[in-house]
Symmetry: C2
Subunit: 353 residues, 2 copies
Amino acid sequence: MIDNPYYTHEFHGDYELISIGRLDLEEGGSIPDCQLAVATFGTLNEAKDNAILVTTWYSGTHQVWRENYIGTDHALNPDEYFIVVIDQIGSGLSTSPHNASGANAELTMSKFPRVRIGDDVVAQERLLREHFGIERLQLVVGGSMGAQQTYEWAVRFPDKVRRAAPIAGTAQNTPHDFLFAQVLCEAITSDPGFNGGEYASNADVVEGLKRHARIWAVMGFSTEFWKQEVWRALEFHTKEEFLEGFLEPYFTAMDPNDLLCMAWKWQHGDVARNAEGDLAAALGRITAPMFVMPINEDMFFPVRDCRAEQEMVKGSELRVIDDVLGHLALFAVAPTYMPQVDRHLGELLARPA
Amino acid sequence: MIDNPYYTHEFHGDYELISIGRLDLEEGGSIPDCQLAVATFGTLNEAKDNAILVTTWYSGTHQVWRENYIGTDHALNPDEYFIVVIDQIGSGLSTSPHNASGANAELTMSKFPRVRIGDDVVAQERLLREHFGIERLQLVVGGSMGAQQTYEWAVRFPDKVRRAAPIAGTAQNTPHDFLFAQVLCEAITSDPGFNGGEYASNADVVEGLKRHARIWAVMGFSTEFWKQEVWRALEFHTKEEFLEGFLEPYFTAMDPNDLLCMAWKWQHGDVARNAEGDLAAALGRITAPMFVMPINEDMFFPVRDCRAEQEMVKGSELRVIDDVLGHLALFAVAPTYMPQVDRHLGELLARPA
């Protein structure tokens, strides 16, 4: 375990650490005391049927949802719904390589086991049921790796998911996406300071984390984002300033092993595992009304890939988000982004289910 | 200087090294004895007016043109034209960091000066004029960095270029492309074996070169290339085999400093330098009929960027090549690729000019 000030309430506001006990993992082994960081908004009604689950993306936590997606002026309205954001395993807030201690001490750092999207979803289902008494969700929604979890929920627990909205992500990771995530991992692991995962501080891996950030610059945004110098809207004067003042500090604050844990999970996301490798059969199990919401300028979850899956989900709709930021439109920086998300989620929540 | 068996006739067939003497460089300094590797096909006629110049791309040489683009069954027909392929400075065949010796000994390895696209074009023009007596070209054609040189030729020497065909490249490098090339450079320079450019052998930098290859895997091909497993057509059984059997050996054979020399040049390509930074003014100087030929699945020279420039060239046409390989369609692997290139170049060569 190492101390990293980024994964604290100072940076992530209110959240609660909830233990679900021992979590056996698909790849073998287990987490003896799996703790999930949970931020909630609104009030669970007596029938316990007004809950929405939000799942999180690579490097992202509940905080970006709190700041941008959730509020009385949004479809994710805490006056109406009990909104539960659960940070994924490896996020740095929930049980993760860098914070494994106590009962999890044997899993610390490079010894952390491989975790799959399905492990997260099983853990989340248990938490919602055992801790909150929630048996059914009005909506599961998440972006990127959160979309992977959303699909997994809808396939694995069709009776518990009344509606689902995977944003900018796929049910079965594509080979290109696998290779992209591999390049991200190698930027980190190739730093001599990484030391096979046994560094003393994330600062030891700062060069690898910066390279990792700059690869995100190439793939996370669109070619047009850079051409139009959209970063000027964030009050930077040059693209170098934007990299050094935004993307690099964003990632260098994080823990390398935590990022690698999430990256492996991202690479291996595949709902077809629930149907002996048959993607169409797995997606055919989905009964929830689903809006599949890719971002039109996304470089690595292109609309084409999302549409191919959406067409396998009966009764689903493709709702393309227009945003020049590309994948990282998920940061909700463009003023035109949240109105689109709210409109789609609002219409989905209005659907009988 | 170091010995690298890749940059030999064994791998690159017949070519001639032609010295153009001292080349003063735009960024300052000079190459005392600038030698260009030249492969020719066909016969220069008495009027010396049947010449075509082919310029080369990052990591590519005349060899890929010889094997795929040039022949009596192609638009680049040596029965009709005298086709001159000039390998760019830094290519490893022409004067380059790894082979700088003799009069160029002071430029060896990390001491090699920065070279610009304009330097190559000035060198090529001098070579064609002084060595072959060629004053005017029927066509200048090149892909990627070769497209950068093609644009530079058409802007800088409008009276010498009768027709021009930039394939999969831009006249002014985009910021996204700059960042992509930077990530490629960092994959190499971050390898401890790189040693600031003073390695004993490219084998010392093999890990960095492999990372560089795998970044090409993500950006050089399209998402759909990987999804459709197009690499199976090259008789590989898994994408890992394709990486390890094709892309990695392709790049690990090369010299790191040579690649970095080309990458810097690529990053800083900009014909607007000929018109005080005014891109429209620079492109407005082009008088040659021009076919701008982007590849529809290109991840980093997208059609959108190529079209924006094409629209600034009067009388030009946009001819989009359909190829799922993306940028690396340039390797001419798909059986449908060369017929498109030949059709466009054939039509262009048939235009009065």
